[in-house]
Assembly symmetry: C2
Homo-oligomer: 299 residues x 2
């Protein structure tokens, strides 16, 4: 299956009906606006944590109707995160959304081996883009969490992304390992990683996807460019997943697509027992809404 538009994921979410989501410290006006739209569309049912007075103030300022909304009152950011995690554990919520709490605080609680809800080898950030310059949805990982992943961590990042693609109906996604070059240069570690990851895919250590690389970005997203460089690969020019070398390059690519590429995006944190949505103030309203919809697709 080929997915061309984020709207398709949004429609899936609407069809799936409301999913309970736990919001960590919900006194965040921008987030409440996005939650209001997602609730109106019928795909989320938010349960809020945090200080009740502050939540009521933020709700009033953002036009979020608190009628029939459960507020689990908590005193500290840490307590709000724990409250959300407990909702996941007892089955009363299926997604966690970050509100007015630091990302590090929330993620530390989530990956805690004893009291958290870790699942996979590592948690990773994934963004899916709808670009006016590409023929289908295109994913970038990891643009936000893993600073300088080694090759095993990169395999885990691929694994998280592939599992997501399976859940949204893309059965054998094409993974392009991106570097500055389309050939191995021992001075550029990411090109060596690409060779190893390709071999791991060949040896079935990375399954249910096609991994190829190293690619310069143009070879991964432009068939014409791949032909110019005599690259014969079914991933070339048709990648679903772009595995980036590190956090700097991933974040720059993410921001370039959103701010200098006319793309729209949805993002989610993968690798915990449930999807985690972190929206940032600089994300557009639409991007926040699509991120919630993406998480509902995965729950």
């Amino acid at each position: 299956m080929v997915i061309k538009h984020l709207h398709e994921l949004y429609d899936n979410a609407c069809n799936r009906g409301p999913v309970n989501i736990a919001v960590a410290q919900a006194d965040d006006e921008n987030l409440l606006r996005a939650l209001d739209r997602a609730r109106s569309a019928g795909f989320v049912n938010p349960v809020l944590t945090g200080n009740k007075d502050k939540i009521e103030e933020a709700a009033a300022n953002s036009g979020f109707d608190l009628n029939n909304i459960i507020i689990a009152e908590t005193d500290t950011p840490e307590a709000a995160c724990v409250s959300c995690i407990n909702m996941i554990k007892n089955g009363s919520a299926e997604i966690i959304v970050k509100g007015n709490v630091k990302t590090a605080t929330l993620l530390r609680k989530i990956i805690d081996k004893d009291k958290g809800i870790p699942n996979k080898q590592l948690i990773s950030h994934l963004a899916i883009f709808e670009s006016p310059f590409y023929h289908k949805l295109l994913c970038v990982t990891d643009a936000a969490l893993n600073i300088s992943p080694d090759v095993n961590e990169k395999a885990a990042i691929i694994h998280n992304a592939v599992e997501l693609f399976h859940k949204i109906g893309v059965s054998n996604p094409k993974v392009a390992v991106i570097t500055a070059l389309e050939y191995v240069n021992p001075k550029i570690e990411a090109t060596l990683h690409a060779e190893i990851l390709k071999q791991m895919n060949h040896d079935n250590l990375i399954k249910a996807c096609i991994v190829d690389g190293p690619f310069a970005l143009d070879n991964a997203v432009s068939k014409k460019s791949a032909i110019h460089k005599n690259i014969d690969s079914e991933v070339a020019g048709d990648a679903d997943i772009l595995l980036v070398p590190d956090l700097n390059s991933g974040n720059i690519l993410y921001k370039c697509l959103n701010f200098l590429g006319g793309a729209i995006s949805a993002s989610v944190i993968l690798g915990a027992k449930v999807p985690v949505v972190l929206t940032s103030r600089s994300d557009s309203e639409q991007s926040k809404l699509y991120s919630l919809a993406l998480a509902v697709n995965l729950s």
Copy 2:
């Protein structure tokens, strides 16, 4: 002065009249097509090096008219590069253009301390983009040569870029040091580099420009995004020059703008006694033409 379109640099080049350029091993059909357009526009006068038979064949295939064109015949790629360098030394050419020769071969000859034409502390690649999503020309450096520059090398890369901006008429360019974050994280070296480069600018060790950072890319190119993050900087949202963390991130940004951003670009190698133009097969015809025009602006 604010330059909005690459066409302005092209017009400048046309007004300046023909500049002699030395072409290293000219049997490259795509390059000859671009040279033909630049010659018709009146801003270059190519002097070709390489094997005469091969050049004549490539010229015939690409419709390049060899009438009144000097061919300095050479036997090897190295000899072609040396021939070009000698033309620079004796004043018979003002720009070097790479033809069908490896980049490394040409650059090694150029930076050779004894026989080459090095000038600045280091050579660096600079690309100028005209993006439909930005309000003026935007430069990315270094996307092609320096793999993992240290802070002194980054200062030299900035210096090369600033000198270019002065030559095209932008007197005090705004340099944004790009990383994944808009604050210092000791685990991400590029954020530390940003602090040092900013201080070097403050201490007048990096002159005639405004350096600020670290910035995530969005803060450098979007005023709205900078305001969201409470960043108060005259560089934020209005950068002329994006200094990237390393080759991987720079190349990915370069390719993203060109292949997923609808941008057009011109590129040049800086830091030698003359501008050096390296066009790649995957560059568009227009991009090759604009690169030649940019080099003429600098000569």
